[in-house]
């Protein structure tokens, strides 16, 4: 019986936004996964930044993505780095390739998943965790796994 992946400590999810990243976090509060897209050349990038590295444009689009993706890489965190958060172990950090925004990747978590089932290439679906301060953080479950 494989252990299930938990969530990282809420204390780490203190979201600070600047004028370039705020639309990402505002969309999250609405339950939408988005990604920075250059309005001139159409390329996607993460995390948000003030210039497109391909064409230096500052014009942006924030398309609502389908919320699905693929695990690009992951690690199972087995030791608490913040003392007092041992009950969050194990949690899984994953780099997710976002459908509809290739090649942009999001650093996130795979939660509620049997640890042994988490592999590179597995399909995942987004959901949002609401933090005590109201911030919404996108996280993923393995596709096809019921909540």
């Amino acid at each position: 019986m494989s252990r299930l992946s938990k969530r990282p400590p809420d204390a780490l999810a203190t979201i600070v936004a600047d004028s370039w990243s705020a639309p990402f976090w505002e969309a999250a509060k609405l339950g939408h996964l988005t990604c920075t897209q250059c309005a001139d050349c159409g390329r996607f990038r993460m995390p948000p930044s003030p210039f497109c590295p391909h064409c230096r444009s500052q014009a942006l689009e924030w398309p609502v993505l389908p919320g699905t993706g693929t695990i690009y890489s992951f690690t199972v965190v087995e030791r608490a780095v913040v003392p007092g958060t041992e009950d969050t172990i194990p949690y899984v950090v994953a780099v997710i390739s976002l459908d509809g925004a290739i090649p942009a990747r999001l650093i996130s978590n795979i939660v509620d998943a049997p640890i042994d089932a988490i592999r590179i290439g597995e399909r995942v679906t987004v959901f949002f965790d609401t933090m005590p301060d109201g911030a919404a953080v996108p996280r993923f479950r393995l596709a096809g796994v019921q909540r």
Binding site: R7, P8, P9, L12, A13, T14, I15, V16, A17, D18, W20, S21, W25, R45, M46, P47, P53, Y72, S73, F74, T75, V76, V77, E78, R79, V81, V82, P83, T88, Y91, V93, A94, V95, P103, A104, R105, L106, I107, S108, N109, I120, G121, V137, R139
Partner: protein, 394 residues
């Protein structure tokens, strides 16, 4: 590149000073300033140079600065005080920075020094003490906190793409430990077996306890001067043959970004710097006698072996499994003092120290007829760096 504009063999390391290495926190009640000054005085004495004659400082990671060192050590006047950005990535490149200052005529006697004294905080948790920023919110919110988590993502991808295994990581840990056993002052003195490795707790998969470097206290300094002046000093010079710093934009913020190009993701980020270094060096991979790789994680030794061309991309695992990095019979003896995994973790200066001792012919684990030694700075966000050291006999 024309030698006319380069630093090739124009400068040399002429003095080496080091404190002992302590397990993290155990150098107290000595202060960090005291450790750093001990290393500098040691390097000056080794070179036969008077401390007040030091006239330049090159750093890459410093919780101390030139004003305080001048005040403490009675240094008269300094013409160069510069830092290579990026912290541990710049350790080897700081030697090149000192060389550049000397070739440019900005200083004659330049110290490169690093000192580490750790308090209660474990390095893995250090980023949690930084205030959250718009950038850190994109990784810290996922619990991606310590370098151990971050490099694990690269290692996992390397295993997926190339079939690299934990047995390969274990070989790096065991090779380093074997070297540490016969290195005086190395912190780890217990033999490490493959069974020990697999019995160790997983920290952040695929990295277990023995894939992580040590956390230790200590300070190391070297003195760089012109090759011409070096001939008149008391120690056998170790020539600074070539150095490189920087990296490719596709690597960028790397472990804090995770949007590196697909080709670069499962690497050490040293590819561009390796090309720069070799373009300035008479020695290519087959000419290098030994290497001191910045070994914060076993998997990153494997990826540096690939990025520096000792084997093909993706073949680093089987390469180490063949015994290639062993001091006893390997084609590229690696981290011959035990490295940061088993000897001491002084943020890359321990690699410089071992390179100097090897090319002087005075290392505890001496590689016979060592002429060229590659030393690298820490794989991390840009800049990363490296330096090719050359024996004065070569």
């Amino acid at each position: 590149m024309s030698d006319e504009f380069g630093i090739k063999d124009r400068t040399a390391i002429v003095g080496l000073g080091s404190t002992p290495y302590w397990k993290r926190g155990r150098s107290a009640p000595k202060t960090l300033q005291e450790l750093v000054c001990e290393a500098i005085i040691g390097a000056a004495n080794d070179a036969g140079i008077e401390v007040p004659d030091i006239d330049g400082f090159a750093y890459y990671a410093a919780d101390f600065d030139t004003g305080g060192l001048m005040e403490t050590l009675g240094i008269r006047e300094v013409g160069f005080s510069s830092m290579l950005t990026g912290y541990g990535g710049g350790s080897a490149g700081a030697i090149g920075l000192a060389s550049a200052a000397i070739v440019a005529g900005l200083a004659k006697t330049v110290v490169v020094v690093c000192g580490v004294q750790q308090g209660d905080l474990r390095y893995g948790a250090m980023p949690t003490t930084y205030p959250s920023t718009a950038e850190s919110s994109f990784y810290q919110s996922a619990g991606l906190v310590g370098p151990g988590h971050m490099f694990a993502l690269l290692a996992q991808r390397h295993m997926h793409l190339y079939g690299t295994t934990r047995e390969h990581f274990a070989e790096v840990a065991i090779s380093n430990r074997t070297n540490a056993l016969t290195q005086p002052g190395a912190l780890m003195k217990k033999p490490l077996t493959i069974d020990d490795y697999f019995a160790a707790p997983m920290i952040s998969s695929p990295h277990c306890l023995f894939d992580f470097c040590l956390e230790s206290d200590g300070a190391i300094a070297v003195i760089v001067t012109s090759a011409e002046r070096a001939r008149d000093l008391r120690r056998k010079p170790v020539l600074v043959h070539a150095s490189a710093q920087g990296g490719a934009g596709e690597w960028g913020r790397s472990i804090y970004w995770m949007n590196m190009s697909d080709d670069a993701f499962a690497s050490s980020g040293h590819g561009a710097v390796a090309r720069q270094l070799y373009s300035r060096s008479d020695a290519g991979p087959s000419d290098i006698d030994l290497a001191q790789f910045y070994d914060h994680f076993t998997s990153q030794v494997i990826m540096q072996l690939e990025d520096y061309g000792f084997c093909k991309k993706g073949e680093g695992g089987p390469f180490v499994a063949s015994g290639a990095i062993r001091r006893d019979g390997g084609s590229i003896p690696t981290n011959t003092d035990g490295g940061q995994l088993s000897c001491g973790y002084i943020w890359g200066m321990s690699q410089v120290r071992e390179g100097v001792e090897q090319l002087r012919g005075e290392a505890a684990n001496q590689v016979a007829d060592a002429r060229f030694c590659l030393v690298t700075g820490g794989p991390s966000d840009i800049p990363v760096s490296s330096v090719m050291l050359r024996s004065a006999d070569a």
